[in-house]
């Protein structure tokens, strides 16, 4: 009886999340998609390292950190661009996007140097 309730509850939770998500604006969805892309790339790299060993460790680190770093920056962008976020009400989204682009470029310069 309980198990069916929990699974039903989980299913209901999942459905409500899904329907709520549909309501988010399109630009936020794009950012979410970018984050998922970055994280999946990082995971694939970790799996590869797990298989072949971490010999050029710096390369592994730079690869993983590039994905994780850009994901973090995208998260910051999403926070700043989200209209429901009252904290950043006065910040124009273009400014946030400009910061995102600049930080990404700096991150990737460092990554390229560390890649070896």
């Amino acid at each position: 009886m309980g198990r069916t309730t929990t699974s039903k509850d989980a299913q209901a939770l999942f459905h409500s999340l899904r329907s709520a998500y549909v309501a988010t604006p399109a630009n936020l969805k794009i950012i979410d998609l970018y984050i998922i892309f970055a994280v999946v790339t990082a995971v694939i790299q970790v799996v590869y390292m797990a298989i072949v060993g971490s010999f050029p460790f710096n390369s592994f680190l730079s690869g993983v950190l590039s994905c994780v770093g850009t994901a973090v920056l995208a998260v910051c962008l999403r926070i700043q661009v989200n209209k429901e976020n009252r904290e950043f009400k006065d910040l124009p989204p273009e400014r946030a996007f400009a910061d995102f682009v600049l930080c990404n470029l700096v991150l990737h310069l460092v990554i390229m140097n560390f890649l070896g």
Partner: protein, 695 residues
């Protein structure tokens, strides 16, 4: 190899014994042909000249005394430089003196006018001289001209004054100063001064004051009192003070004094009463140098000996032995020569053997036997050795007596002359036998006779309870007991370990007993085959023995744990210079790399999310509606995207080939451009959205 080492033993023992006897006896040989060949070698002239005039004179004088002919080529070139020096007005006093000396030997053609000019110049320098060198060169020059030409008048008017002014530079110990303002005195200067004063005496036009000559004789005696001696009777003069004027070595100082004394002895008519032993000692000093190594030393030696030989009084006679080793077996006879220092024959005399000292003992036997003179070979021969002289090392004491008593004033014989002599002979080796004995009882288990004149190869065997005995007898050709310098028995194991034992003696009998029970430890408990070698040697033994005798198989007990291990034999001594072992470097193994296919597979896998991202964007129905339509903003927008793309391209280039500095420089430019373009684009977009909001 064995023969060579035996000879080496003999030679070293001989040398050691020579050195030990040398403190009371020495051998001095007169000048011989080896000096002549040394002179030709040392005084080599390149292109006809020997160097400066002084060196030329030294070479020519040496050749003249030794009787070596000069080449005509040398003569012409040297005469040219001599006449240059003598006729030029800028020559110094020293140059004139050296040139005149050379001319004295070569006798180049020079006219009397040139001589007259030089004489007047020299006389002026004599009167104005104030240092010893000035006096020496000018008086010496005048003496040389006196010998070379009789046309010019070289006599000195005020010889007394000149004598006194030179004498004023003398010191109380017989030495001379170089000039009045230099307080240091030197023996070399004394010799120069004596030579100069002898010249003054000969050149004086009137008789020199008698008292001056007497005081000079005292000075010579005082100078001779300061002579230094060695133990073997040689005397020499040495410079005590260092000064820059003259040479410093004993050869040149002694030469200078010898020249001065002989010159003065010839110049003055009075007798000098020079101490004969000191003159003989000086002669022995110069002969003791044997063959000098440098041309200058050879000149000093030959010039001094020539002065001593041609001196008016006190000519030393040298007793020498052509051979100091007399062999009894070859029936050699002892021969003695008596010559002058330059090797010419002496006056008629007889030689007597007075005493024989045997080395190591103080007592001497008095012989008083006269040697027979052989006129053909000019040697004195001792026909038979005295009766009690056996093989061994001795010192023979000879005495020379001149036949004509008149010669006693002229020649110096030196009393008794001691000479070391070696009498060698064949030593008889008898009753040589080797035996293995049982230790306690002493009974002989094996006994073999040895013939030490020939090769032996005995084969013995013993164990640690037995003894090895070797015995033999040595006797001299006259039947007396003989104790050699070395008598060793050496046992050599097959692994190379050696043990040496000294063979002891009592009287004639030599015996060694090796008790293996006590030697087990010394032999490092090594059993096996030991080679036996006997060494019996002495410098007077003509048939020294260094022979293998055979071998003995030793059976020793096993070594206990604490026993000393045998020393490791030295490896071939030259192997350390051979090539060394090859060094193989061990590198860290390179990391294992994954297989290529796996890497490529994951490369594709990593690109998949990107395509997934693009697919997701399409699913979300993204559009480019916000892209500005009008021209200027559109350009900026496109430039903005191109700028970002170029930065990413720069990063890609940076990874492939560029370095950080170039990248940063390019990034700087691109960054500024991007900033500008991006600002324009985004501000345009912001203004558009603000308009929409307000609208």
């Amino acid at each position: 190899m064995a023969r060579n080492s035996g000879l080496l033993v003999l030679a070293s023992v001989l040398l050691a014994s020579i050195v030990s006897i040398c403190d009371s006896a020495g051998i001095f040989n007169p000048i011989s042909d080896s000096h002549r060949s040394a002179a030709l070698e040392l005084f080599s002239s390149s292109d006809g000249s020997f160097g400066s005039l002084e060196e030329t004179y030294e070479a020519l004088r040496t050749f003249e005394v030794l009787g070596i002919e000069k080449e005509p080529l040398t003569r012409t070139s040297v005469c040219a430089s001599v006449s240059d020096a003598l006729t030029s007005t800028s020559s110094s006093l020293k140059d004139l003196f050296q040139a005149l000396r050379v001319n004295g030997i070569l006798k180049c053609e020079l006219n009397d006018k040139a001589f007259a000019e030089i004489v007047s110049r020299l006389k002026d320098s004599v009167n104005s001289a104030n240092s010893l060198f000035d006096f020496y060169h000018s008086i010496g020059g005048l003496m040389l001209i006196k010998d070379q030409t009789s046309e010019v008048d070289v006599h000195l008017g005020d010889a007394d004054r000149i004598f006194r002014s030179i004498k004023a530079l003398s010191q109380s110990d017989g030495r001379w100063r170089y000039s009045s303002n230099n307080p240091e005195s030197s023996t070399y200067a004394a010799g120069m001064a004596l030579e100069t004063l002898a010249g003054v005496v000969s050149l004086a036009s009137s008789e020199i004051d008698h008292s001056l000559v007497a005081t000079l004789k005292n000075d010579i005696m005082k100078l001779l009192d300061g002579v230094e001696r060695y133990d073997d009777g040689t005397c020499y003069f040495d410079e005590k003070f260092v000064d820059a004027h003259g040479p410093q070595d004993p050869l040149s100082a002694s030469l200078s004094v010898v020249r001065g004394i002989t010159a003065f002895a010839s110049a003055t008519q009075e007798s000098l009463n020079l101490p004969g032993d000191k003159i003989l000692g000086l002669a022995k000093f110069f002969l003791g140098v044997e063959i000098p190594g440098s041309a200058k030393d050879l000149y000093h030696q030959i010039d001094a000996l020539s002065c001593l030989e041609n001196s008016r009084v006190s000519v030393p006679l040298i007793l020498s032995l052509p051979a100091t080793v007399i062999s009894v077996s070859r029936k050699d006879q002892l021969k003695v020569r008596v010559n002058t220092v330059l090797g010419s024959a002496g006056p008629p005399l007889s030689v007597k053997l007075m005493q024989i000292f045997s080395s190591g003992s103080k007592d001497a036997s008095v012989i008083d036997q006269e040697l027979k003179f052989d006129p053909e070979r000019a040697v004195h021969v001792l026909e038979t050795l005295p009766k009690n002289v056996d093989v061994g090392k001795y010192i023979f004491s000879f005495e020379i007596s001149l036949n004509d008593p008149e010669h006693k004033k002229r020649y110096i014989t030196g009393g008794r002359t001691k000479v070391p002599v070696y009498i060698t002979g064949v030593i008889e080796v008898n009753n040589a036998e080797i035996a293995v004995l049982d230790s306690d009882i002493g009974s002989i288990e094996i006994q073999k006779k040895l013939d030490l004149a020939r090769e032996n190869d005995v084969a013995l065997s013993a164990n640690h309870l037995q003894k090895l005995r070797l015995s033999f007898q040595l006797s001299t050709p006259f039947g007396k007991a003989f104790k050699p310098h070395q008598a060793f028995l050496k046992l050599r194991h097959e692994s190379g370990v050696e043990h040496t034992f000294v063979v002891g003696n009592s009287g004639k009998k030599f015996e060694i007993i090796l008790d293996f029970l006590g030697l087990v430890d010394k032999f490092f408990y090594l059993s096996g085959k030991y080679d036996l070698q006997l060494t019996v040697g002495d410098s007077v033994m003509e048939n020294s023995i260094l022979k293998p005798l055979g071998h003995v198989e030793l059976d020793l007990p096993d070594a206990p744990e604490k026993a000393a291990r045998p020393p490791s034999q030295p490896i071939d001594l030259y192997s350390r210079y051979g090539p060394k072992a090859e060094i193989i470097h061990i590198f860290r193994a390179p990391e294992k790399r994954p297989p290529r296919e796996l890497s490529l597979a994951f490369l594709g896998l990593v690109l998949l999310p990107f395509f997934g991202f693009l697919a997701g964007l399409l699913h979300l129905r993204v559009n480019l509606k916000n892209l500005p339509r009008s021209t200027v903003p559109a350009t900026f927008a496109i430039l903005f995207h191109l700028g970002i793309a170029s930065v990413l391209l720069l990063y890609a280039l940076f990874w492939f080939k560029l370095d950080l500095f170039t990248t940063l420089k390019a990034l700087g430019f691109l960054g500024i451009f991007l900033m500008f373009v991006g600002h324009r684009t985004l501000s345009h977009l912001a203004s558009v959205s603000a308009k929409l909001k307000s609208a």
